[in-house]
Structure formats: C-alpha cells, structure tokens
Subunit: 347 residues, 3 copies
Amino acid sequence: MEATLMDLAAMVGGNLNGDPEKLIFNTASFEMATEDDITYAAGASYLKKINECSAGAVIVPLGTVIDGVNTIDAASPEGAFAKVKMFFHKPESMAREINESAYIGLNLIFGSEVAIGPFAVIADNVTIGDRVSIFPGAYIGDNVVIGDDAVIYPNVTIGQNCIIGKRVSIHAGTVIGSDGFGYTQDEGKTIKIPHTGIVHIEDDVEIGALNTVDRAVHDKTLIKQGVKTDNMVHIAHNVIVGERTLIMAHAGISGSVEIGTDSIIGGQSGVVDHVKIGDMVYIAPRTAVVKSVETGESVGGTPALPYKLALKVIAAIPKLPGALKRLASLEKKVEAFINSQTQDKEK
Amino acid sequence: MEATLMDLAAMVGGNLNGDPEKLIFNTASFEMATEDDITYAAGASYLKKINECSAGAVIVPLGTVIDGVNTIDAASPEGAFAKVKMFFHKPESMAREINESAYIGLNLIFGSEVAIGPFAVIADNVTIGDRVSIFPGAYIGDNVVIGDDAVIYPNVTIGQNCIIGKRVSIHAGTVIGSDGFGYTQDEGKTIKIPHTGIVHIEDDVEIGALNTVDRAVHDKTLIKQGVKTDNMVHIAHNVIVGERTLIMAHAGISGSVEIGTDSIIGGQSGVVDHVKIGDMVYIAPRTAVVKSVETGESVGGTPALPYKLALKVIAAIPKLPGALKRLASLEKKVEAFINSQTQDKEK
Amino acid sequence: MEATLMDLAAMVGGNLNGDPEKLIFNTASFEMATEDDITYAAGASYLKKINECSAGAVIVPLGTVIDGVNTIDAASPEGAFAKVKMFFHKPESMAREINESAYIGLNLIFGSEVAIGPFAVIADNVTIGDRVSIFPGAYIGDNVVIGDDAVIYPNVTIGQNCIIGKRVSIHAGTVIGSDGFGYTQDEGKTIKIPHTGIVHIEDDVEIGALNTVDRAVHDKTLIKQGVKTDNMVHIAHNVIVGERTLIMAHAGISGSVEIGTDSIIGGQSGVVDHVKIGDMVYIAPRTAVVKSVETGESVGGTPALPYKLALKVIAAIPKLPGALKRLASLEKKVEAFINSQTQDKEK
C-alpha cells in the first residue's frame, strides 16, 4: 500500500511542509523509520532529535516547520498518526460472510455485512447488528444481543442472555457471563446460588484478552459506555463500572462493587466486595481497596491509603529495620542516662 | 414460566401466608422485584424494610408472618430462593445429543442423555458418564474420564488421562492438565521435566472460568470433593486441595502445596511451594503464604502473619512516616538534654 | 510399554549395577514406585532412605553403588529420569495429518509430518514448519509463521503476522498478539492506538497456559530464545524478554519493559512500564518493580528493595505495632524525666 504526502495530509487534515508527491509505504516508530515510512514526533524531546530520524515524513505538533524535513502538522500528532496507521494496516479481519463451517442455531437475526468465522457457535435466538465480526471458536449463548460493529475475537465465550453494545471489542479467550462465585448453606449442605442475571456491556467498550466478567445473581453486571479493560481482568457478579473507566491487567473487582466514571484502576489491584469507588478516582497499581473511595481521590498501598500518604509509607518502609535499631539504642541510652543521674543524686 | 404461590411453597417445603392462587412469573432481587416476582429477605434488616419491597411474594425466615405480605417461610430463605430460581431459569444448556459437528475420537464410552456441542473435540478412549454436558469448543484429551452430570463449559481444555468426578462444573476457558512449570539441567542444557501425572478432580467440585490446574510430575494433582474455585485461579503441579475448600479469584497455589479441608484462600493470595495449609484455615485476600499454616489458623499480610497481628500491622503502617519523624526528634531531644546536663555538671 | 534395565541404562548412557534383564514397565515417584517402576534419587537425602523405596530400579548420582538395589548412574539423575519418562509416556499428541475438520485458509505453506487437529483454524498465507502440531480449536491468524517442531495446544489464539520459532510450545488457551492497551486523545475523544506491530517468539521458548502476549504498537514484542513462562503471565506491548529468562505464574510485565538474559521473575510480581531489568536478576515472588534493576541484582518487596533489605523489612514489619507503643512510652518517659530534672533544678 502507498500514499503521497499530499494524500496523507488530507487524510489527517494537517498542513504539509515538504514534497507533496513523495510516496510513503508504511508507518514506523521514530527510531526505526526509513525513507519509505511516516512516523510522528510525540513532543519536544522528539523534535530536538529530529535530525536523527530517517523517516520519509514526520507528523509534528500544529504549526511546527522544520527545514529539510517533510512534515504534516496536527493538533494531536499521535491521534493523526493513529489515522495514518489505520490506512496502512488492516486489523485482524475476516470475509464479510457467515462461514459455512460456523454453527448457527435457531432464529438468528443478523444485520448487513456480518462476518462469522469457522467453528464459531451461535446458539438459539441470537441477535447480531450490522458489520459485527465473530471470530473462529467464539461461543455466543442463547438470546445474546450484539450491537453494530462489535468485534468478538477468537475463542471468546459469551454466556446466555448477555447484551453487548455497539462498537464493543472483546479480545481473544475472554469469558463474559460466567457464573459468579456464590454459595449458600441449606440443610447443612453447600448449594450453589443460581446466577440468573446477565452481563450488559454498553457501547464503545473494549474488553482485553482473557478477562472474566461474571453474570449477576439477579439483574445485571454492568460495564458502561467507553470502559476499557486490559488483559486478565476479573470483574465479579453485580459490579457496575462507570463510563470511560480504565482497568489495568490482573486487576480484580469483587462482587457488587460500584465504580464511577473516568476512574483508573491500576494493574494487579484488588477491590473488596460491596465498596463504592467514585468518579475520577486513581487507584495505583497493586493497591488493595478495602473501603469506599470518594470521587477525585487517589489511593495506593495494601490496604489503600491516600496516595500521598502511601508514597510516604513507601519511602519510610526501607528505613524500618534501621529505625527499630535506633529505637532500641535510644531506649538503652535513656535508661542508662536516667540511671546515672539517679545514682548521681543518691551520692 | 409461571407458578402459583401454593406450588412454590410446596417446592421449597415452606408455609405459605397469603394468596395460594397468586401467580408468580419470575424471581428478582429485593430491590428490583415487581408484583409478578418472588424474592427473599436475607435477614432482619430486610424484614424491617419489607414495606419498601414491591415483590408479589417474599421468602422469609421460618415462622415469620407479616400482615399484608405474601410470604413463604424457610429455614434458609436464600437456599429456598435458590430452588425457586432453578425453577424459573434454565442454566446454560444444550440439546441432549451428540451434535453432528462435534469430533468424536476412537472408542468413546458414554452414558445416557449426554450432550456434546458443536466443535467439541473428544479424543480417543474417553469415558463420559450419564447426563454429561460438553459445550462447544471444549477439548477432551485421550483417556479422560468424566463422571455423571458433569458440565464442561465452552472452550475448556482437559488434557490427556485426567479424571473428572461426578457433578463437577468446569467453567469456560479453563485449562485442566497443562504441564507443570518444571525444568532441570542436564549436560549444561535446560531440559523440560516431563509431566506424566494427571489432574484428578473429585465429585461436586466447581472450577471457575479461566483457571489453570497443572498435571503432576508423577502421580496426580488432586482437587478433592466439594472444592470451589473462583475465576483465574492457578493451581500448580502436585497440589492437593482438601474437601470443600474455597479458593478466590486470582489466587495462585505453587507446586506440591497441600491444603486441608474447609479452608478459604482469599483472592490474589499466593502460596509458595511445598508448604502445608491445615483444615479450616482462613487466608485473607492478598496474603503471601511463605510457610505452613496450622489447622484453624487465620493469616493475612505479605508475608502471612497471624490475622490479628496482620490487622495491627495494617493499622500501624500509615503511622510509620510520622513515627520516623518522632524518633528522630526524640533522639535529638535526648542528645540535647544529655549534653545540657553534662555541661551543667562540668560547670 | 516395557524395557529391560540394560536398555534403559543404554538409553541414558549410565552404568547399570544390578539385573540387566529385569523388566521395567513405568516410571514413578520415589515414594510411590513399585517393583515394576523405575524412579530416581534426587540427592543424598533420598539415598539415605533408599531402603524405604520399593522401585524396581533407581537412577542414582554418578558412581553410586548400593548393595541389593538395581541402580543406573547418571551425572544428572533428574535429567536421566526425564529421558526415561519420555520413553514410557507419550505427550499429548495427534495423528500426523491435517484433520479434515480443520479450516485451512488460502496459501498455506507447510512442512512434513504436520499435525493439525479438528476445528483448528489456519487463516490465509500462513507458513508452518516440519513436524508442527496445532491442536483443536487453535486459531492461527493471517501471515503467521511457525517454526519446525512447534506445538500449539488447544484453544490458543495467535493473531496475524506473529512469528513463532522452532521447538516453541504454547500451552492451552494462551493468546499471542492481542492488542496492547493503548489509547490517546484526539479532538476530545479517546481513540485507540492501532497496534500494527507483532509478537516474535524465538526458538525453544515455552509459553504456559492462559498467557497473554500483546503485539507491539510498531515493530515487535520480543520473547527471546529459551524463555519459559508459567501460567497466567501477562506480557504487554513492546516488551523484550531476554534469553532463558523464567517468568512465574500471575506475573505481569508492563509495556516497553526490557528484561535481560537468565533472569527470574517471581510469581505474582509486577513490573511497571519502561524500566530495564538486567541479566541474571532475581525478582522474588510478589515483588513490585518500579524502577530499573541492574544485572546481577536480587530484589523483593512492594516496591522492590535490594533482596537482603527486603528480608530485613519483612522481619521488621511484625514488630512495628510494638515499636510504636515503645516509641510513645519512651517519649513519655523522656518528657517526664526532663520535667523532673528541670523541677529539681528550679528548686
């Protein structure tokens, strides 16, 4: 694939400074780009070393002009570069058809330009919007609804009755709608609490690879519009995750937790059940959240402390062994001094 | 689906107080229930606010009678409600047949009313009991034995020779019988230790979604009767997990660990290899167990401490930065005082 | 299967002391072995209790001879035993053919003795070396290259363009080439950064079950020769893992981290993005690495401290609650003494 710089400038709506006819064949990182590639300068530090960059063209911040370098400017060079990448590279994709090796249950309702791969299983009474892609090996349970432009990657499992919004991506191996972990005692026996609720994933959500999102006991586990999760995130039954919240790898959210909008849950963090996390909360990586966190707060540590205090604790902890020695030594010193003074007096 | 309150009372063996002919169409949570739903009151706090509940009927503790509310009583309202839920909701299920799109290897022995879904793979010499369900995309290796009423959810992998008990559920994406992580040195090269043992899962075990249970080096990794694991639990080679023990999400159990009966391993906990954990042990979430834990003990922290001490440590840690300042200040104060006293004497 | 001790001695190149015609039918652990089994003595502690061992023969350290016990000696008894195990036990395997139930895309190039299982999906333009095994339910994306003797276990997903080396094993359910977690802002909207790089896994790598290795933003995420990962390891975009490094279960490596050769990353550890970890580094289990670690260093703790200091901190932490009490008491004592002295003087 190829494009002239003139075409690329038009594509991102930026000003071209350089040779409009120059052909570009690919995108590359600032460090690895060659004469055939376009790259971008993320900020001032990249502009300073732009003469070390061998790219055929560089996307730069708005208004930047550099002698002898082909540039296209953009308010967000990274955003503009993303558009250019999407031109040169096609994402994992399939033919827009229902592959004859897929299994299609009863009463499938589907939109236009749907792609269903080999060995995908669509159980009964499923509804699939326009341009949905369901990759090989994915399992879509009875009564599931999937919105327009959603992409379900290979070997994903979506349990019965779940609702998946528009433009949702669910990466490979993820399990949506597994039973929550819930048991009760009846007549001296452990019995499983039937999980009859669903998982509802709203529009524009991206769920990473190998996530688990458990269905609710009743009602629904709810992942709201614009949420993004990294890989190996576990979200338990009845959780609500607010709009645009980000959850990083290996984080675990226990049952019935409510998380607000625009929050960030760091990697390997854990949140105990039934707490509330407000909007715009920052939870540092490896934090153990054991009580509710108010809107706007930042927390860190095990268990979670206000972030500034957590940083102080982190700085203090290596000093603890020395401090214990100093404390013991001071105790002796004080004891000895008091004794000596007392003896002095007794003399 | 629908049932009269009379029928539902008979179903759970409870006393009905109210209209026996009233029709109920569904179950719901206490908060979300409507006139068509039945719900339950988990305890006294729910009974107090029962007039806020719009349910058509409420399952209540034994002997409870409330004016103007249709109630059914039960020793365990939650247990009775579970039964009612199982009447109204069918779990993820399949036609009781071997789907023609499944792959069936040589010498399959299978019981009655077996369900094997599309694109499930049954390798050679497999034995499957009565009423077993094997969902689409599951892989069952050579010589595997699966007991009556077991349910293997989509995209599960069970490696060769493993044994799965009766009434076992294995949730989607889980891997049973992966090789343990074991290497040795021979003639200066790293070589893999062949893992020739199996995983044996006894009756009534429920394994969550996206678990890994590694096969033993020799002999077997053993998950005993009634164990329940949450999602993303890792159980390494040669581990033994005792009867009815619960293991929460993201917990990792290292090689050759032995865990007793009726213990609870909290979420995101880790247990180092070769330690023993007794019966009725409680391991708090996010605990790092680095040595054996006796029967009946509770532990928490990294590394694990007796639980009460762990709570004290947790309460003490935020005070550490301040304590370091106080210590330094006290050191100066003592130093200054001793100096002043010594000078006094010298005068 | 069976073999004489003479044959087994020849197989491992060791000296037989005992009955050359004795038949052995299986391998077993030292504790569980019977007269029909061969086992090995891992070290001096096993040799001491060799009369408690019922094995038909024991592999022992070089030069060891024990009266009345059939022994074969070897420089590495464990290594020799591994060879014997590989004789008696066949690993999970398939017929050397492309199963007619597999889906094969356009332009597959493949070597000799390839095994592709039922319902495996090979997308377009894939290249597969000699003796490669691709188990049921695995998905191999467009343009993927897989080297000789690689084994791709059931339900693995390998995204487009990725490169897998020779003798690589990728265990069940693992996802190679998922998108990295990367978003940027453009015109006030969150947009996804297209991940157009690949994952390149070099020769002799073993990736455990349910791992995720994300593709690079550009260029590649690189897992070098001889790396071994345990289960549920997450490796983010643009990471480089050096030769022969081991990564234990539930560890998470954030974006653009570079790890050197022959290092060990303990279970449940986390490494923040963009740091460098040198060669022969030891990262203890449950460590949070927040800055670069030099070659040869050992670290532990949250956040990571030099290992010896981490051990001192671990020993000190339980003393913290008591130390706070001692500090308060010492403060009072000093205060009281100073006051008393001052009053004395005032008198």
